[in-house]
């Protein structure tokens, strides 16, 4: 029904500082290709955050954000690359900021009214998925790992996610 928005807001902030995140931690870093799929329109932007696992913080929380990208939205799929990602486990959270205000819009019930999604198409029961469900592993020296982030829209009062 809802998704915690703090991390995505944090990601948005980060995105204003650097359009492409550079995350090189070592020589074996790889580029991670992310496909944001199912965008309904070219309105506004797509905001994408790369998270790493935090033992003592909830996913998707600000604390875990290691990179953020903002791109103009396009109908269908938007492809972005997080460059020089150190080997390890990551999860991607993205939302379609159709009104371009930098926030994941919510109605007064707290339900998102803009589309959002997580890597692997992971979905939570009534909220965000676990990091583990959304996790993608970037291996050492891997050519170009890629991951899909399907965007789901809640037609408030209608049917929604998942399927």
């Amino acid at each position: 029904m809802t998704i915690r928005t703090a991390s995505i807001k944090g990601a948005a902030l980060a995105a204003t500082l650097a359009c492409v995140a550079s995350l090189a931690f070592g020589a074996q870093a790889a580029d991670l290709e992310v496909h944001i799929e199912g965008l309904r329109s070219a309105d506004g932007d797509v905001r994408i955050a790369l998270h790493r696992h935090m033992e003592d913080a909830k996913f998707p929380g600000d604390a875990g954000v290691v990179g953020a990208i903002m791109r103009p939205a396009a109908s269908g799929t938007v492809r972005v690359i997080f460059a020089d990602v150190a080997p390890g486990a990551y999860a991607v959270a993205a939302f379609h900021d159709a009104d371009g205000d930098g926030e994941l819009a919510q109605n007064f019930l707290g339900m998102p009214t803009e589309g959002y999604g997580f890597s692997n198409g992971a979905v939570g029961f009534m909220g965000p998925p676990s990091f583990a469900d959304a996790a993608v592993t970037v291996g050492e020296g891997e050519a170009m790992p890629s991951v899909s982030v399907p965007i789901a829209y809640s037609d408030a009062g209608g049917h929604g996610a998942g399927q």
Binding site: N107, F108, M126, G127, A156, G157, H159, Q163
Partner: protein, 504 residues
């Protein structure tokens, strides 16, 4: 009583003559007599929570006995969970299953029945998937799909509202669902204002004599809020407000008085961390915290803002009856309250397995008094178990002298086996006990004339011996005389929840 039928004939047809003769006096005697009947078998008990025999049903009722009042014309609309199994998966609680709307149409000479399972977005998704997919009130399917909005799991299974030219099937966690009066087919969810799409709208709206409709909504995730709606007689939203309340759990009903909405919040509250922790049902996300006590919030009808709050001892209830206030601001209201929510947590699950032991505390008729200075009390007026209360709708928000409810307790049977009239000052003053094999559902008051209480009491029952649903009509001022008329359908129906009578 121009059309007084032969009550003796009614009773003979039901095989309950001795019972009813006893019921003419006191309730206890009637219950004792009824208990002389053989106990119900497990198969009979299961029939009360079996899936309806078909997705759509239609048939005339056959008169068992008695005669119909010719001036009783209109439609009794009803709703209730009626698909208790889908794709081999049985729901675990009375309130889980998908709703079936029903119309009992009274012509004055006959009654006919129509019913249809509401094909909600939830049900359509499950049909497309070929399996149970979405959470229900208290039951999760083995693999549960995520919920993005409350209406994703809206079962539209609790009541019917006819207002502003619309017919709506009500749930309480999400929107009202419009349906067609002829085909009974599900239409769209009602959005009272674009930004309120999907907002909870309770199953107990109150329509005042001038046509104004009031309702509440109870938001329990992700935020905790009570919503207040005022809808004009044409069905347009006239005023709305949202009030954060923390902690908060299900608030199923409330009362309106002349100047206020009164919400009684039991200490059975959502623990939001339970939702966050993983798949869990709405009911199981609640915890009983008696230390919180019962919180009462009095809301001004003009501003929809809270103006008074009270704290009372803990208890759990689903239903009120009516509320009214004195010139000095003292508010009186009815409630059917139990010591704790175990009947909802345990007993209403057990019935799905044919277990009618009902070990938990039962709801009883109680009266709450809220004084303007801050004093408040709950009084137990009647010792009888009571629930499914209804009033003469002409008294909504005004002082009432009669509350009609299912009352009575009986060991080893359905605990709400008696149709009773409660005087808020004196307790149960009239009633008729259904024989053990006839399980009554909510009985609705249908007004006649102008005086309070002048009218009929109309309600369905399930005949566990004949495996058939039926309907009773009582003279509301003479319940002890037994039904004026009873009719029977050629098929059974599971026990439903609430309804509304729309006069022709």
């Amino acid at each position: 009583m121009t059309a007084a039928p032969s009550r003796r004939a009614v009773l003979r047809a039901l095989g309950t003559l001795p019972v009813v003769m006893a019921a003419g006096g006191a309730g206890a005697a009637a219950a004792d007599a009824a208990d002389a009947a053989p106990a119900l078998t497990a198969d009979q008990r299961r029939l009360a929570f079996a899936t309806a025999p078909a997705e759509t049903l239609a048939a005339p009722l056959t008169t068992l006995a008695g005669g119909l009042p010719p001036d009783l014309t209109g439609v009794l609309w009803r709703n209730g969970p009626a698909e208790h199994e889908r794709f081999g998966h049985r729901y675990g609680h009375w309130f889980d299953g998908d709703g079936m709307v029903q119309a009992f149409t009274f012509t004055g000479a006959s009654v006919s029945h129509r019913a249809r399972i509401l094909d909600t977005p939830k049900r359509r998704r499950e049909t497309a998937a070929g399996k149970r997919l979405l959470p229900a009130f208290s039951t999760l399917p083995p693999e549960v799909a995520p919920i993005m909005a409350p209406d994703d799991m809206n079962a539209a299974n609790t009541s019917v509202l006819a207002h502003g030219g619309r017919l709506m099937a009500l749930w309480e966690g999400g929107s009202a669902l419009e349906f067609d009066s002829e085909t009974l087919e599900a239409g769209d969810f009602v959005s009272w204002r674009p930004d309120l799409a999907g907002a909870p709208f309770s199953a107990h709206p109150k329509v005042e004599a001038d046509g104004t409709c009031w309702n509440i909504g109870c938001v329990t995730f992700p935020r905790l809020m009570l919503l207040f709606y005022r809808i004009d007689p044409q069905g347009r939203l006239a005023a709305f407000n949202a009030l954060p309340v923390d902690p908060l759990g299900m608030v199923h009903d409330y009362v309106v008085t002349k100047r206020h909405l009164v919400l009684v919040v039991p200490p059975f509250v959502i623990e939001p961390e339970r939702f966050a922790a993983g798949p869990i049902s709405f009911l199981d996300a609640h915890v009983w915290r008696p230390e919180l006590g019962t919180r009462v919030i009095v809301v001004d009808k003009e501003t929809l803002a809270p103006v008074r709050r009270y704290d009372l001892p803990p208890g759990f209830h689903f239903h009120h009856g009516n509320g009214w206030e004195e010139a000095d601001g003292t508010i009186h209201l009815d409630l059917c309250q139990a010591a704790d929510p175990m009947f909802a947590i345990h007993d209403l699950r057990a019935v799905m397995e044919g277990d009618w032991g009902f070990p938990s505390a039962h709801p009883h008729y109680r009266r709450m008094v809220l004084r303007p200075g801050g004093a408040a009390a709950i009084e137990q007026v009647a010792t009888a178990v009571a629930d499914f209360p209804r009033i003469d709708p002409r008294r909504t928000g005004l002082r009432h002298r009669a509350l009609f409810a299912l009352t009575g307790a009986r060991d080893g049977g359905w605990p709400l086996s008696r149709v009773g009239r409660i005087d808020p000052d004196h307790g149960v003053v009239d009633g008729w006990t259904y024989p053990r094999h006839l399980i009554p559902e909510e009985h609705v008051f249908v007004p006649r004339g102008t005086a309070e209480g002048d009218g009929w009491l109309v309600g369905p029952f399930l005949d566990l011996e004949r495996s058939a649903a039926g309907l009773s009509v009582f003279e509301a001022r003479h319940l002890a005389d037994g039904p004026l008329w009873q009719g029977l359908l050629p098929y059974p129906l599971p026990l439903g929840l609430h309804g509304t009578f729309v006069a022709a």
